[in-house]
């Protein structure tokens, strides 16, 4: 059996990085779905997404740093830019994404929140008060600029694994796509969870369910060719797939990821949204069902990373 070098810290990092990318992306789309001078329910999605987006990826980056053999040397990642190394590109991409997500988060603070934030600064940092600018008008520009970066972060987490030729379980472009759509779907789920506690977020939920269904359907139709192509590929790839087809990750993959983490929430969301779209029925918003669905998606997203990180390292060329 192969030695597992990347463990649970990396699993968490890949999940949290994807979650932030998804939060930012969905929030950014919502930013363009309303007229600036009219109140819209979509501002709640845009605001919540923008406020939540920077934090998971920041925690993820810290986990990534503490996973290094010499975490105090992490700055060396930023003394080089190696375009052939997915990790080098990813490190710079994460810095860029963190910056854009933070500025975007600041842009979505209300005036009162901004004033409260600066009022809480310790006396030594009081000079930062001069940065108390209103940058509301930057929101759309930040969303526009940050969207490709968030997609980049979502894809990169998969490219990091997919670029390793010696691990047949990973070495396909489908992993990058799978991780991207899973990231976008977990972002939607986090927003559903965040809005579930609010007062009747019906319009918001309809939009989020719609996005989420698209992302999960795409994710499902990447899992299928991943399995089919793998079975039709060379022996090393077929052998590596045995890890989820009869091997140690079979139940985790089929029951907990695909069954509970992908198909169950997909069916629930379709059941909720399809009658509204097709038969023009009223949307029956159920807070507990929405929160449960979101938790299942988040759990599925985490499991996907867990299965891929561990199974990939256990796979090898013959």
């Amino acid at each position: 059996m192969k030695i597992i070098e990347w463990g649970v810290l990396i699993v968490n990092y890949l999940f949290l990085g994807g979650l932030s990318a998804g939060l930012f992306f969905v929030s950014a789309i919502a930013t363009f779905l309303y007229k600036l001078d009219e109140p819209s329910p979509y501002t709640r999605i845009a605001r919540l997404g923008a406020l939540m987006a920077p934090w998971p990826v920041m925690i993820g980056c810290l986990l990534l740093i503490f996973d290094l053999g010499r975490w105090y040397h992490f700055y060396k990642l930023f003394l080089h830019l190696r375009l052939v190394s997915p990790m080098s590109i990813g490190s710079w991409l994460l810095v860029l994404f963190n910056l854009v997500a933070l500025v975007n988060c600041y842009a979505w603070l209300t005036e009162r929140q901004r004033n409260d934030l600066f009022a809480k600064l310790p006396r030594r940092l009081a000079f930062l008060g001069k940065f108390n600018y209103d940058i509301d008008h930057w929101r759309r520009r930040l969303a526009f600029a940050g969207m490709p970066i968030s997609v980049g972060v979502g894809i990169y987490t998969g490219v990091l694994l997919g670029a390793v030729q010696s691990r047949p379980f990973w070495n396909t472009n489908l992993v990058a796509q799978l991780f991207l759509f899973s990231a976008l779907s977990t972002g939607c789920a986090a927003l559903i969870l965040g809005l579930a506690g609010r007062e009747q977020p019906v319009q918001e939920m309809k939009l989020l369910y719609g996005f989420d269904i698209c992302f999960m359907v795409l994710e499902f139709f990447i899992v299928l060719p991943y399995l089919i192509h793998g079975q039709l590929s060379v022996q090393a790839v077929q052998d590596s797939l045995k890890l989820i087809l009869g091997g140690p990750f079979t139940i985790l993959f089929w029951v907990f990821f695909l069954g509970l983490g992908l198909l169950t929430p997909l069916v629930i969301e379709l059941r909720e949204l399809v009658p509204v779209v097709v038969s023009n029925r009223e949307f029956h918003y159920n807070r507990i069902l929405a929160a449960t669905t979101a938790l299942l998606i988040l759990g599925g997203g985490f499991l996907l990373r867990y299965i891929f990180v561990y199974a990939g390292q256990m796979s090898a060329m013959q």
Partner: protein, 183 residues
Amino acid sequence: MAARPKRYAMVVDSKKCINCKACVVACRAENSVPLAYSRPWMNEETRGVWPKLMAAFAPEQCHQCDHPACVRVCPTGASHHRPDGIVVVNEAECVGCRYCMIACPYDARFFREDKGVVEKCDFCVHRLERGQLPACVETCPSKVRVFGDLNDPKSKLAELLSDRQYRVKKPEAGTGPQIYYLI
């Protein structure tokens, strides 16, 4: 005329190997590798049923690839390719991300928990610079390993590769391994 650049490689005649592991011990002593780790290792294979048994031993170490996956994925350039073909790790630049270990198709690298860096065989570059052979080559009692310059047609290595049939491990990885196993 400019001197031809060197391209170090190794030939392994595994039929001569008696699995004494002197190479492993010599390497540990030469490179101060703790007991928990090893740069070269032995592959053992037994076939058949007693009394008709066959045991085969084949030493292995970093294949000093022409297109090393470890060098490609390294985010800091700590893993790099010397002009003489040897793949080395610059410990000062290594952050210990272990991406190279995951990328290596031969699992030829290991993580030194005590130092927080990745290590591997480097053909004993410090000995080569003194005009000596790698420790594993020098110590082998049955002369399993032949070390030399591929670009020197008069070398024993080049002679063996032109006279004998050989194979490399996992050529499908596309990394261009430079440990040649005589058949």
